[in-house]
């Protein structure tokens, strides 16, 4: 038996899904978190008459194996059965496969949600309604006559609170005893029918504005909204960097105290030198270990992920998770909608890009929520080219810190300028349309600690299981290639670009090679090269741009298709060479002053944006 969880976006389908199956589906407070379906199994124990306490799924007092396995599918949210974006199409394709529809309805938004419900009732499939976010109706002064609603719709209705799991047991019982006979309904005037239902089952109580509602109004205030958002974003990055640095310091101490003795022991075991010593431990002296420069699999490999990257990933996802669950991301999308039009997008595209700051893979996957091919192409290309993931950023922070603030700002501005310039260019050249923003803004909800931790746990687990094999394997691979002399050969081959254009030593080729697999390891490989300031900026920016990691590339292929990915890659190569040249030449002109360089680059980007904006306006007025 297959149960489909169907409902509007952001009504808590994923939370109900997690409660039913124990499979952790990512939840947040904005529409479009689930972009493809997740399936899980609900195991039900048929009540054993001999056991008094056995009515739940996990009965501890008896272990009667009379269980039934039910497949549950978490379907992306839809407003109607008439798909517009990719995520909605996924949902509509799934519909015929279900045996039962569990229609998850946001109880605080009954009227709008019933539109989909009534469409579902027109199918010849049993429907059960989970009236979710039931706890919220109490705060909001909404009361709903559940029995009457059930009677008017002719289907069972259960009240649930997905986040806490309240009512889920009752829902399971209804699924087990679903109505076998179904007579599809036909509504002549759907909205009239909805109106009748809502007026007879729902009553609203007037109450005062809550603190969260006031906060809601301030965050999208006509004048204050944007400055507040900018201040929040800057403050959050400060928090991430400061906390990240603090945690890295803590990790360094832990490594020195507990890990160094182990490595030194291993070093003695390996005889203090030789092939394996070189590959596994790298360049370590007898008493002190420079974990960042040693380049051994077990020294730099382990330290880089646990000591340098993990702290930043932890704090970043804690902050992002809080913003997501609170519901701030869609508000950022609304506030920066106008600005995003300058690069041919609308506000929603900011959400994939913010996710990409953590990891490009979920970022690129989130483009499914965008309506047109043009929007998907521009968002994916800009994300893959200009947005470094947190793992990469963490290494960049630690690597560039010794070069001074000027250099860090120069790198940041180069990437932001590239975003603006490339975006303006894509806006003028990519064919197709960009839709006007139409988006529901969810109410703020205070994030629950348990849910926050669960989402954080999933993300950290994904990071650790993804990163370790690739980073350790990648360093192993580079070490072996270096020993075999393959790196020297490749270095000579790539010399015209790497040394000729970018002005980097030819050994940097290993960075570009490993960057195909992992971006954090690739930046770390610049460390032993003892680069000067200009080389550092060129090296780091080109490493961010030239190729997304393999995992992102695969997702790009899946989301954009072969042709558009090829186009995106072509742009990547051109942009890498242009940016490398720009950094080197501009630095030459400004006599290696990072501050002057930053100024020139920023002015250039603003000029390009203004000119492109004027061109685009001309174009659109001509076409009218």
């Amino acid at each position: 038996m297959k149960v489909l969880l169907v409902g509007n976006p952001n009504v808590g389908k994923s939370a109900i899904f997690t409660q039913l199956t124990g499979v952790n589906a990512r939840t947040s407070n904005y529409p479009g978190t689930t972009v493809s379906y997740t399936s899980g199994t609900l195991t039900v124990v048929r009540k054993n008459p001999a056991c008094a306490s056995c009515s739940t799924i996990k009965c501890k007092s008896c272990h009667i194996p009379d269980t039934e396995k039910i497949e549950v599918i978490d379907v992306p949210g839809i407003y109607r059965l008439d798909p517009e974006c990719e995520a909605e199409q996924v949902a509509c394709r799934l519909m015929p496969e279900g045996d039962i529809y569990v229609n998850v309805v946001d109880a605080t938004n009954l009227e709008r949600n019933l539109n989909l419900t009534l469409q579902l009732l027109e199918f010849k499939k049993p429907v059960i309604i989970a009236l979710n976010m039931w706890d919220d109706t109490i705060h909001k002064g909404i009361s709903i006559d559940v029995d009457k609603l059930s009677e008017m719709l002719g289907v069972p209705v259960v009240t649930t609170t997905g986040i806490t799991g309240a009512g889920v047991d009752k829902l399971i019982q209804k699924i087990l005893h679903y109505p076998k006979k179904v007579t599809p309904k036909k509504y002549k005037n759907r909205w009239q029918a909805i109106g009748e239902i809502v007026t007879s089952v729902q009553s609203l109580e007037h109450r005062h504005h809550t603190f969260l509602e006031r906060l809601q109004d301030i965050s999208v205030h006509p004048l204050a909204g944007i400055p507040i958002a900018i201040a929040i974003i800057i403050a959050l990055f400060q928090v991430i960097i400061v906390t990240g640095e603090f945690l890295v310091g803590l990790m360094e101490q832990l490594f020195d105290r507990y890990y160094t003795p182990f490595i030194l022991f291993l070093s003695r075991l390996l005889g203090g030198g030789g092939l394996w010593h070189e590959i596994l431990l790298g360049d370590i002296s007898a008493d002190k270990i420079d974990y960042e420069a040693a380049m051994g699999v077990l020294t730099t490999g382990i330290f880089m992920e646990l000591g340098l990257v993990f702290p930043y990933i932890l704090i970043f996802y804690l902050v992002l998770g809080f913003l997501e669950d609170l519901g701030y991301l869609p508000r950022i999308a609304v506030l920066f909608d106008r600005f995003m039009h300058k690069v041919g997008l609308h506000g929603f595209s900011i959400i994939p890009m913010m996710l990409a700051l953590g990891c490009n893979v979920p970022g690129v996957m989130a483009i499914r929520n965008l309506e047109s091919r043009r929007q998907r192409f521009i968002t994916a290309t800009l994300t893959a080219i200009t947005i470094p993931c947190m793992a990469q950023s963490a290494i960049i922070f630690s690597l560039t810190a010794s070069y001074g603030t000027g250099h860090v700002i120069a790198i940041l501005i180069t990437i932001m300028a590239l975003w603006v310039v490339l975006g303006s260019f894509l806006r003028l050249t990519v064919k197709g349309t960009t839709d006007t923003l139409i988006m529901e803004i969810p109410p703020y909800r205070l994030p629950g600690f348990k849910v926050l931790m669960r989402n954080l746990g999933t993300r950290l687990y994904e990071f650790l299981t993804d990163a370790f094999p690739y980073v350790l394997g990648g360093i192993l691979f580079v070490n072996i290639l270096t020993m075999l002399g393959v790196m020297d050969f490749l270095g000579n081959l790539a010399k015209p670009v790497i040394s000729g254009v970018f002005g980097l030593p030819s050994e940097a080729v290993s960075s570009y090679l490993i960057g195909i697999v992992r971006k954090d390891a690739s930046v770390a490989l610049l460390e032993p090269l003892a680069l000067n300031g200009v080389q550092m900026i060129t090296g780091v920016t080109t490493l961010i741009i030239y190729f997304p990691c393999m995992a992102t590339f695969v997702v790009l292929l899946k989301e954009l298709g072969f042709k558009d990915t090829a186009k995106s890659m072509l742009i990547m190569v051109e942009v890498t060479i242009l940016t490398g040249t720009w950094v080197r030449l501009t630095m030459l002109i400004v006599h290696n002053s990072p501050w002057l360089y930053t100024l020139v680059t920023a002015l250039f980007a603003i000029t390009v944006m203004v000119v492109a904006n004027r061109k685009a306006m001309q174009k659109s007025s001509e076409s009218l």
Binding site: Y79, N109, E111, N115, V220, P222, R338, T436, I438
Partner: protein, 74 residues
């Protein structure tokens, strides 16, 4: 009066939506259709989106669309 011209904080009823079928059906699925009462909550500066409240839902609309929605007094 169009939704864009409406004052922030005012209440109104949607009279006409001058959009294509696609836009109308998308708006309808969010609960915005002719005859529905709305409150204009905000309009982001510099020609940004307009935020309206219909029932208990808040919806952001790009100003091109807000220009196509004609609102009357309740």
């Amino acid at each position: 009066m169009t939704l864009r011209e409406m004052k922030i904080g005012d209440r109104g009823i949607i009279r006409i939506i001058n959009g294509g079928r696609g836009v109308c059906s998308k708006l309808e699925s969010l609960g915005l259709r002719e005859g529905v009462q709305i409150v204009k909550k905000s309009a982001v500066m510099g020609g940004g989106p307009i935020i309206v409240e219909a029932g208990t839902t808040q919806i952001a609309l790009g100003c091109e669309i807000a220009n196509k929605i004609i609102v009357g007094h309740p």
